[in-house]
């Protein structure tokens, strides 16, 4: 995946409002091969929580990460 495609997918994953990233995408399969370190996903959740969101699932982010790799 090229960086521009990744950026597009990432922006879609964090939500349409860049000021309030959701980092959550209910309904997206979480059955992807996760190569992103767990600690970074945890950090992503922490950051999302700090911005006022309550992320339920990072599956789309995981899917993006898997595609990127």
């Amino acid at each position: 995946m090229e960086i521009r495609e990744f950026e597009k997918a990432f922006r879609a994953a964090i939500g349409s409002d860049p000021m309030r990233p959701a980092l959550a995408a209910p309904g997206v399969s979480s059955q992807v091969d996760l190569q992103m370190p767990t600690e970074f996903l945890t950090a992503a959740k922490t950051l999302a929580s700090r911005s006022g969101e309550q992320p339920k699932e990072n599956s789309l982010l995981r899917a993006i990460a898997a595609q990127w790799w």
Partner: protein, 323 residues
């Protein structure tokens, strides 16, 4: 060992006393190779890769490591000029720094030639090494130029920012790793594989530095406030541009603008720019690890290289990615 060799090279290449004095002074500053805390990681990588392929470093390998460090220092000096960085009590003008950088780059090129001669390269082996080196240095110089060129532009894409980073930092990594291999073997495939490993490792390292420098603390100078075109900063600015495009006539709401002005670091953190930068950085680290695993399967060992990769790795906390 590398510091002593570098001093010897400076003595050899820079005979004029004022030039040599300025060079020694410049390279003794924090962040440069002759500073007491300098790790000289690029030169160490060159030596370790030679060791993995061929055993204890030869004079050619040591000369190659010196050449790599000369190139690294030239790049750092150029960065100082490009970024307008000045240490307290530093009396070197930008023109002087640039003259020193040109001197280092020229010395680095001479040192590569001497290393190839010491390694007994001739004929097609020498030609392959020269072509490979030409491509490496072309990449590094193009990255340096792109860095300066993008600074002038308002709108920069993430693709352009990553290209600049990988040309510049990745090119230096390719040089450091590939030259170590090139001193040990004439097998161009092995040289290329180590080159790829260095490219990915140094690009990762630069992306991590960019995350650290993006927005370190409200009272510290940051890439964000200085408008540098690093990947996380570009992502952030493009987020703001996206926000502006959604409202009438491209004017951001007063409320949002006030929030940005009052709390730019908070807006940066909530933009996702840091996570975006971390994921891209992780991708490069994983690629470097994959390169190393591939090399291990071919050579049977990678010596201390896994530990060296480990020394480059950082935790999420170190780049502000955890509470």
């Amino acid at each position: 060992m590398l510091e002593a060799e570098l001093r010897r090279a400076i003595d050899l290449y820079f005979g004029e006393s004022a030039f040599q004095g300025a060079m020694l002074h410049a390279l003794a500053r924090p962040g440069f190779a002759l500073h007491s805390k300098a790790p000289c990681r690029a030169g160490v990588l060159t030596l370790e890769i030679y060791r993995v392929i061929s055993g204890p470093p030869s004079v050619a390998a040591i000369q190659a490591a010196v050449a790599v460090e000369l190139h690294m220092q030239a790049a750092y000096l150029f960065d100082n000029v490009a970024d307008g960085d000045k240490s307290p009590g530093d009396d070197l003008s930008p023109a002087e720094e640039l003259a020193l950088a040109i001197g280092l780059l020229s010395a680095g090129q001479s040192a590569v030639g001497e290393a190839a001669f010491m390694a007994g390269r001739s004929g097609s082996g020498l030609r392959s090494l020269q072509q490979w080196y030409r491509d490496c240095i072309g990449s590094v110089c193009a990255g340096q130029f792109l860095d300066a060129y993008l600074e002038k532009r308002d709108a920069v894409t993430a693709e352009e920012a990553l290209k600049m980073t990988s040309l510049k930092a990745g090119g230096l990594g390719r040089l450091a790793a590939g030259l170590g291999a090139g001193m040990a073997t004439e097998d161009q495939e092995i040289v290329d594989r180590f080159g790829e490993f260095g490219f990915h490792l140094f690009t990762y390292s630069q992306l991590i530095d960019d995350l650290r420098d993006a927005c370190p603390a409200p009272d510290l100078p940051s890439d964000l406030t200085q408008g540098k075109k690093t990947l996380p900063v570009v992502f952030f600015h493009n987020s703001l541009a996206e926000e502006r495009s959604k409202v009438t006539r491209g004017i951001i709401s007063q409320e949002t603008q006030a929030r940005i002005t009052a709390d730019i670091s908070g807006v940066f953190e909530s933009s996702g720019a840091r996570i975006f930068g971390a994921i891209v950085a992780e991708a490069f680290l994983n690629r470097a690890k994959n390169n190393l695993a591939d090399i291990k399967s071919r050579l049977g060992t990678v010596g201390n290289l896994e530990n060296i990769v480990g020394s480059f790795e950082i935790s999420p906390q170190e780049v502000g990615l955890a509470a």
